[in-house]
């Protein structure tokens, strides 16, 4: 809670800094060139579109990573030991690999298009990058699932098994519905980390907010724009993540009381 209030103030501080840097830039700017604010305003729609791509990438990567991570997490608890060990190894690998390296691998290894039966699906760079980001999400979700399930009292397994539920029924009807609540806060934290990692895809040429900011800066070629433009980008990310963080904290508090 305290941390949140502090980061709220931090947001206001960043705004102040932005204004200051713009004002400072205006003073510095050579006479005759357009005002900094006007220039930034001119680029805002394009960079805003890029930011939407960041959000899209994060949502798709989170969805893919969550579905795959759920499977992997359940695999980690499988009674079949080869499956269990394989799932554990895969989880540890993707959790502990640098995101940027995974991203490069996906860009390099995934084909330009994929054939699904007779259908040819194009794989543009942003899709490959999204898959690249989904992999570490998968590894982390897998651990969140395992943690959430193992935090439940083993007695819940006992009573489900004693009622002749099979393993699948036990998982889907008894265990997972109870494990979702404690899994939600870490899962939302992971999403915040993921959206913050989306500018990584700029290094592989995806035209998201970061790439477009750099593009605008080089097009304008004015050094006094550098600070305010990147600050504006920071503020955009902050404005998107802060409500999520607040919500996560609220859920965390609520579940902490209940459990």
């Amino acid at each position: 809670m305290n941390a949140l209030r502090v980061s709220g103030r931090f947001g206001v501080g960043m705004m102040g800094l932005l204004l200051a840097s713009v004002l400072f830039g205006e003073v510095q700017a050579a006479d005759g060139s357009a005002s900094l604010l006007a220039t930034m305003w001119k680029w805002a729609p394009l960079i805003g579109q890029g930011f939407l791509l960041n959000i899209l990438i994060s949502v798709v990567a989170m969805t893919l990573g969550t579905v795959a991570g759920l499977g992997l997490g359940l695999g980690q608890m499988s009674p079949i030991w080869p499956l269990r060990h394989a799932a554990q190894i895969v989880t540890q690998f993707f959790r502990n690999a640098p995101w940027l390296v995974l991203l490069f691998y996906c860009i390099l290894l995934l084909p330009y298009e994929m054939r699904l039966g007779g259908l040819v699906v194009a794989m543009p760079a942003w899709i490959k990058a999204t898959v690249g980001l989904a992999l570490p999400v998968m590894g982390n979700v897998s651990e969140i699932v395992r943690g959430g399930v193992q935090a439940l009292p083993p007695a819940q397994w006992d009573s489900a098994e004693a009622l002749a539920f099979n393993r699948r029924q036990t998982l889907w009807m008894v265990i997972l519905p109870q494990a979702i609540k404690p899994m939600l806060p870490p899962w939302m934290n992971l999403y915040a980390v993921l959206i913050m990692a989306t500018p990584l895809v700029s290094v592989v040429g995806v035209e998201e907010a970061m790439t477009l900011t750099r593009f605008a800066l080089s097009a304008e070629n004015r050094s006094e724009l550098l600070l305010p433009m990147y600050l504006a980008l920071l503020i955009a990310f902050f404005a998107y993540c802060y409500p999520i963080a607040r919500w996560t904290a609220r859920l965390e508090r609520r579940f902490a009381v209940k459990l």
């Binding site: 007695a155 819940q156 004693a162 009622l163 002749a164």
Partner: protein, 264 residues
């Protein structure tokens, strides 16, 4: 390993050769260790159909483990466990078929907290036995009426008292229409009034002819209701017999010592 399997009668043979008065539950030389801890050291016990058997003994003597071996929640290391003609020790055991016939209730109730009392009772018959929902609901309502908790049907377990939760847990097991019920210290976490409620529910079951095996510290109940009392210590059944015998003239000094320490 091989010869122990060879010694065991095949499940089919057990089922067909079962005489009319075969015990509902039969354990012979059952052994179980957790790592280096030997918990059951050759338990032998036989429970007649329709009887109430109370298992008593000091903490850590393996009472819970013994019960869990009967419905295969805990696999045995060696020995024979036959329940209603099903060879439970057989590695090829169909656990689900066994557990459809054997209900179990635990000390901590273990109701499903995300389901209402009624849903808790209805879940297994609907999803495990795949019975008609309306039929199951009628049965569940009848069960909740019997334990006098129909007014709490739509409450979540968190809103029920311990005794009420425990009675719902019993109803949940009964909804599967088991022929055998296992109770593991089901009154241990309850206050005296609730203990009475739960014990009277169990007494009703016994009168209906369901075979009941209880691990309990309620010596008064054991004395009054049990057909057989069985004293365990250090992973063996030290002594068993009708309650009047165990409680008034126990033969084994360990039984005497234990009973000397409990209050009635």
């Amino acid at each position: 390993m091989l010869d122990t399997i060879a010694e065991r009668p095949a499940p089919a043979a057990v089922a067909s050769a079962r005489p009319a008065a075969a015990p509902a539950v039969m354990l012979a030389n059952v052994r179980k260790s957790f790592g280096s801890t030997r918990v059951l050291n050759g338990v032998t016990l036989s429970v007649k159909r329709g009887d109430v058997t109370c298992v008593i003994g000091p903490s850590g003597s393996g009472k819970s483990t013994l019960l869990r071996c009967i419905n295969a929640l805990t696999p045995v290391d060696a020995g024979t466990v036959v329940v209603e003609g099903i060879a439970v020790h057989d590695p090829a055991l169909d656990k689900l078929a066994l557990r459809r016939r054997v209900g179990m209730v635990f000390q901590q109730y273990n109701l499903f907290p995300h389901k209402t009392a009624l849903e808790n009772v209805m879940m297994a018959p609907i999803h495990v036995l795949q019975e008609d929902r309306e039929e199951v609901e009628a049965r569940a309502v009848a069960l909740l009426t019997k334990i006098r908790l129909l007014d709490k049907a739509h409450c979540y377990p968190g809103a029920l008292s311990g005794g009420q939760q425990q009675r719902v847990a019993i109803a949940r097991s009964l909804a599967m229409r088991p022929t055998i019920m296992l109770f593991d210290e089901v009154t241990a976490a309850l206050d005296p009034v609730m203990v009475k409620e739960v014990l009277s529910t169990i007494r009703d079951l016994a009168e209906e002819g369901i075979t009941c095996i209880l691990v309990t510290h309620e010596m008064g109940f054991a004395r009054e209701v049990a057909d057989q009392v069985c004293f365990t210590d250090h992973g063996i059944v030290v002594e068993e017999g009708p309650p009047e015998m165990i409680f008034t003239q126990p033969e084994d000094p360990r039984t005497r010592d234990f009973l000397g320490h409990v209050t009635f």
